[in-house]
């Protein structure tokens, strides 16, 4: 890694307008944003502030109404459905609030689901080792606790060695102690594979573990803070 980490994301004037019967809803009103490789960014903001919309656009799940978004040299806002699918497949790891594991597959198999289609994956076992679930590899989701399921989801997200890890409320469904373990896993992954990590949360306590904190309100980034020093997940609680 050089002294000046590579810029991974560049966004200029991103907007997103949803049309509905009740009138247009402006979810994003012009967001400028950059992120460098290995950045661990926490995004805070109230419901409806546009943070999830922003994450979905960054993750290639949604398309901006206007503005430009670049991932390295990929012009994401110019890609079609197919191009976005490939972008997600090759570069992005997702962790969701409700884990979204396949109930009919074991932990190992849920991870293998992704490694089978990725270009440069680690083994499912290696991914599970990173999140500390080696001994649970052959368990089905129904046999695991919520925290364990979320760590499987993280293993699944990182197994492709993604350049970007996007997490939407990864601890939202978990109690504090379990949440800490999940955050530890995220930090560990961020450190080990150097993926640029964006974590959305309602939980302000989590901001302490980030390099940078973005605060969304009313479809815009209203505040940005760089943490001089990051706390370890174990040091925060809520």
């Amino acid at each position: 890694m050089s002294d000046r980490p590579e810029i991974v994301f560049r966004a200029r004037g991103l907007t997103r307008t949803y049309r509905s019967a009740a009138g247009d809803v402006q979810a994003l009103r012009g967001v400028d944003f950059t992120a460098a490789q290995g950045d661990f960014i926490v995004i805070l903001g109230p419901s409806g502030s546009g943070k999830s919309t922003f994450l979905n656009i960054v993750g290639g799940l949604d398309a901006a109404s206007s503005g430009d978004l670049w991932f390295k040299d990929h012009h994401l806002t110019a890609l079609d459905e197919r191009g976005l699918t490939l972008y997600r497949r090759d570069h992005v790891g997702f962790v969701f609030q409700f884990y979204n594991l396949v109930p009919s597959l074991t932990a190992r198999e849920n991870v293998a689901l992704v490694t089978e289609i990725a270009r440069n994956p680690m083994t499912p076992e290696a991914a599970l080792a990173i999140v500390g679930l080696t001994d649970r590899a052959d368990h089905f989701p129904a046999q695991m606790s919520g925290g364990e399921q979320q760590r499987v989801a993280i293993a699944r997200a990182i197994a492709k060695n993604p350049e970007v890890l996007l997490c939407d409320e990864p601890t939202g469904a978990l109690d504090s102690a379990t949440g800490v373990r999940v955050l530890e896993a995220l930090v560990e992954v961020n450190r080990r594979i150097g993926a640029t990590t964006l974590v959305i949360t309602h939980n302000a306590a989590i901001q302490e573990i980030a390099d940078r904190v973005l605060r969304f309100a009313d479809g815009r980034i209203v505040a940005e803070r760089v943490n001089a020093s990051r706390k370890a997940p174990a040091e925060v609680s809520w």
């Binding site: 799940l61 949604d62 997702f94 609030q97 409700f98 109930p103 289609i117 990725a118 089905f140 129904a142």
Partner: protein, 786 residues
């Protein structure tokens, strides 16, 4: 409207494609029930009413020539209600439009008009003037085939004399609903018709003044048919009687009976299949609906709705689907029934057709269908009743897949998406089984209908190409001395001639007996042959009989057994003969022996009934010209025309049949696959959307569902073939009568076609669901818990 009922309507609107697919399967069940039972009732009611109104006789007897005075003796037999002495003779048609001369069966008109038996139903014109010798009433089929109308003329050769007759009227008769020429397999109204002439004129033409050649008898309701036949035979033997037959053996009646029997089988087989499949579909769909609405059910219970009210809500939902299905099925059944009646009216000569709109049948169909649908719903509804409100309102425990094969799949080296599919199928074994069974039914219906193609080809091949090698069979009007064969051989264009003799006989073994025609053939027949089981032509044994397998089976005899043969010709001899061999044959009951042996057995004069001929194609016109002029010619059966007529008639019926069956099988296949796919998508939609987020393409995600459907479809094929095979077997058994035996042949093409049709239906259903996969909401799935 109570809110729950409103919910039923909204659910129906929301789930309309699935509801429609189920309704269609139910509709198919209702339609086949109404159509089949309706057509069966229509055909049998029509026949009954026709027979009654037109006084169709119960017993029929032919004699060579009997004095009219004999009629009084017949009328005096206990149980005889009415008897009529008729003149019935075969005449050759002299129509320039027919290269191969056809024939007309001339029947004397009932003397005493309305009181007569086998009365005519006039369609056009009037009956012939009793005093006229130049008027004829024609059967409608024949008149239509030749465009003949009252007032037009028709030339016939009566007893060797050409005569021009004027058409007085056109009519139908209960005796000739199915008008079959001698030795023919299918009615050919172009070459064979019925002509009714005044008795006097006909008797004069055939030198039968004061005499008759045919007797028809109507019995009292309590009469014993067998006893009367015995008495009639006793009276007619001295006059060349060939044995009276009961109505059951009368050709037209017997063919109608065979048709009714086939229809009866269809009625029993088809509707239950549809109702079973529909019940399974209802069960599948409703189970899923109840699972999805688990929390709503809990809420309803919590706010005070009784379990009964909630169960009733789901039953209403199913009943609403059933009502739609019943309505569609009733309309389709009525419509198809009318179409079928139309086909019958064309094929069988009925003056009217009773197609009763039987309300009872409709209600029964509705009741059975609603019952099937509700029984399909019962299990799911039961689970509603058992749910405690507090339990229902919490999300269901995650599905436990522990028992669905852990390491096995990995060892097989399957991709994870395939593992997902297989575990999902195994997780719901009953549903998977229902899907497989439903799909198999679709395949089975096709196999059970398509097999008849190969069977008919086989029938034609064996009957017309392997066994019967002659080009023309000339049946004499009267038995002729053996030299008549030489006269026929001398006709222009004849390359080979082979005499045959046909004698009516009763063959019995122990207490079973059958009325058959015993054919006498040369020792080594070259033209009209019988075949052994390996389809090799058989030589005629010196003394014994060769029986067709059907006859041997009917009598319960094997090769080497001895049977008693009572000849019904003038000799009336009864002899015991060994069964020397068994032959294959699909039409009628066959018995053959060597010509000389037959002469010895009957003990009468050596006579032949006709000749089988090989004709030089180039001289065919000259031959037919000569044959038409020969006084002994009674009827010419032209093989090529018989085969063509056979194929044409079947082709017409089969096209209709295949269309109907492919449609019905398609309804099942679409119903099963579409519902299965929708349910599967509903269960796995969330996972599929997650996979899309993870970078799986639309195609890759759709492939997961398609693999699941493919497993169902593939598993269903062998099961469907097996079920179809069993159904076809049962149909063969049900269709077989003394008139026809259907060879049971299922070619590989049948399986392939059945599978292709059902797969095509499955692919269409899958594509319909694919749209939904493409529209999966990727963002929604991340935001909500299942």
């Amino acid at each position: 409207m109570p809110p729950l009922r409103r919910k039923v309507l909204r659910d129906l609107v929301r789930l309309w494609p699935q509801a429609l697919a189920i309704a269609l399967v139910l509709a198919a069940g209702v339609a086949t029930m109404i159509l089949g039972n309706g057509a069966f009732a229509s055909l049998s009611d029509t026949r009954t009413r026709y027979y009654e109104s037109y006084r169709f006789a119960d017993v029929f007897a032919d004699v060579t020539r009997a004095p009219l005075a004999l009629l009084d003796d017949v009328r005096a037999i206990d149980g005889v209600l009415a008897a009529e002495a008729r003149v019935v003779q075969l005449a050759l048609l002299d129509l320039p439009s027919l290269q191969e001369p056809g024939a007309m069966l001339l029947v004397s008109l009932p003397e005493n008009g309305a009181a007569g038996l086998n009365r005519l139903h006039l369609r056009q014109g009037r009956l012939a003037d009793p005093g006229s010798s130049r008027e004829v009433v024609l059967s409608e089929g024949f008149a239509t085939a030749h465009g003949l109308r009252p007032g037009m003329t028709l030339a016939l050769v009566l007893n060797g004399q050409r005569r021009e007759l004027t058409v007085a009227g056109i009519a139908l008769s209960p005796e000739f609903i199915y008008a079959l020429g001698p030795g023919e397999m299918m009615p050919d109204p172009r070459r064979y018709g019925i002509g009714w002439l005044p008795r006097q004129a006909l008797a004069a033409a055939y030198e039968l003044d004061g005499a008759f050649s045919n007797l028809v008898v109507k019995l009292t309701p309590s009469a014993s048919v067998d006893w009367v036949i015995e008495q009639v035979d006793r009276l007619t033997v001295p006059y060349g009687g060939t044995g009276a037959t009961a109505r059951a053996d009368q050709t037209s009646h017997a063919f109608l009976d065979a048709e009714l029997k086939q229809l009866g089988t269809m009625v029993k087989v088809l509707p239950p299949i549809f109702l079973l499949v529909a019940a399974m579909l209802v069960n599948m769909t409703l189970s899923r609906l109840v699972t999805l609405e688990r929390e709503q059910i809990g809420l309803l219970k919590a706010i005070g709705y009784s379990s009964r009210a909630i169960a009733q809500h789901y039953v209403e939902f199913v009943l609403a689907i059933a009502v739609v299905g019943i309505a569609m099925g009733a309309v389709a059944g009525q419509w198809m029934g009318a179409e079928l009646a139309h086909i019958y009216a064309q094929f069988f000569a009925f003056p009217f057709l009773v197609f009763s709109r039987d309300l009872g049948l409709f209600f029964l169909a509705a009741l059975v269908t609603a019952g099937a649908a509700v029984s399909g719903a019962l299990l799911s509804v039961r689970s509603v009743l058992l749910l405690a409100p507090a339990v229902a309102m919490t999300p269901p425990a995650p599905a436990d897949y522990r028992s669905q094969g852990g390491s096995l799949w990995r060892k097989l080296g399957l991709r994870q998406t395939s593992v997902m599919t297989l575990r999902h199928l195994l997780h719901r074994p009953w549903r998977t089984l229902s899907g497989v069974l439903g799909m198999a039914m679709s395949v089975a219906i096709l196999v059970a209908s398509l097999w008849s193609f190969a069977s008919i080809d086989r029938m034609i091949d064996i009957s017309f190409f392997r066994a019967e090698q002659q080009d023309v069979q000339m049946v004499f009007g009267q038995p002729e001395p053996p030299r008549a064969a030489f006269a026929a051989r001398a006709m222009p264009g004849v390359m080979a001639a082979e005499p045959f003799r046909a004698v009516a006989a009763t063959i019995s073994h122990r207490n079973v007996s059958r009325r058959v025609t015993v054919f006498g053939r040369p020792a080594m027949p070259q033209l009209s042959r019988v075949l052994d089981r390996d389809l090799r032509p058989m030589d005629m044994p010196e003394a014994g009989l060769i029986l067709s397998e059907a006859l041997a089976q009917g009598l319960g005899v094997r090769q080497g057994d001895t049977v008693t043969v009572a000849f019904l010709d003038g000799s009336r001899r009864t002899v015991n003969l060994p069964v020397s061999g068994l032959s294959v044959g699909y039409v009628g009951l066959g018995a053959s022996m060597e010509l000389g042996a037959l002469h010895r057995a009957t003990g009468g004069a050596e006579a032949i009934s006709g000749v089988n001929l090989l004709i030089d194609e180039n001289q065919a016109p000259a031959f037919f010209h000569a044959a038409a002029a020969a006084p002994e010619t009674g009827f010419l059966s032209v093989m090529a025309l018989t085969v063509a007529q056979f194929r044409a008639t079947l082709a017409e019926n089969i096209t209709v049949m295949i269309t109907v069956f492919v449609g019905l099988a398609g309804v099942i296949a679409v119903g099963v696959i579409y519902n299965f796919a929708r349910i599967s998508l509903s269960e796995q939609g969330r996972e599929m959307a997650s996979l899309r987020v993870l970078g799986f393409s639309k195609g890759e995600v759709a492939a997961i569902l398609f693999l699941e459907l493919a497993v169902i479809v593939v598993l269903a094929q062998p099961l469907g073939w097996l079920l179809g095979y069993a159904m076809a077997r049962a149909m063969v058994a049900a269709f077989s009568s003394d008139l026809y035996r259907v060879p049971f042949i299922i070619g590989p093409g049948v399986h392939a076609t059945a599978s292709l049709v059902t797969c095509a239906a499955a692919v269409l259903s899958a594509l319909a669901v694919r749209q939904r996969i493409n529209r999966l909401d990727l963002i929604e799935v991340l935001k909500t818990r299942e």
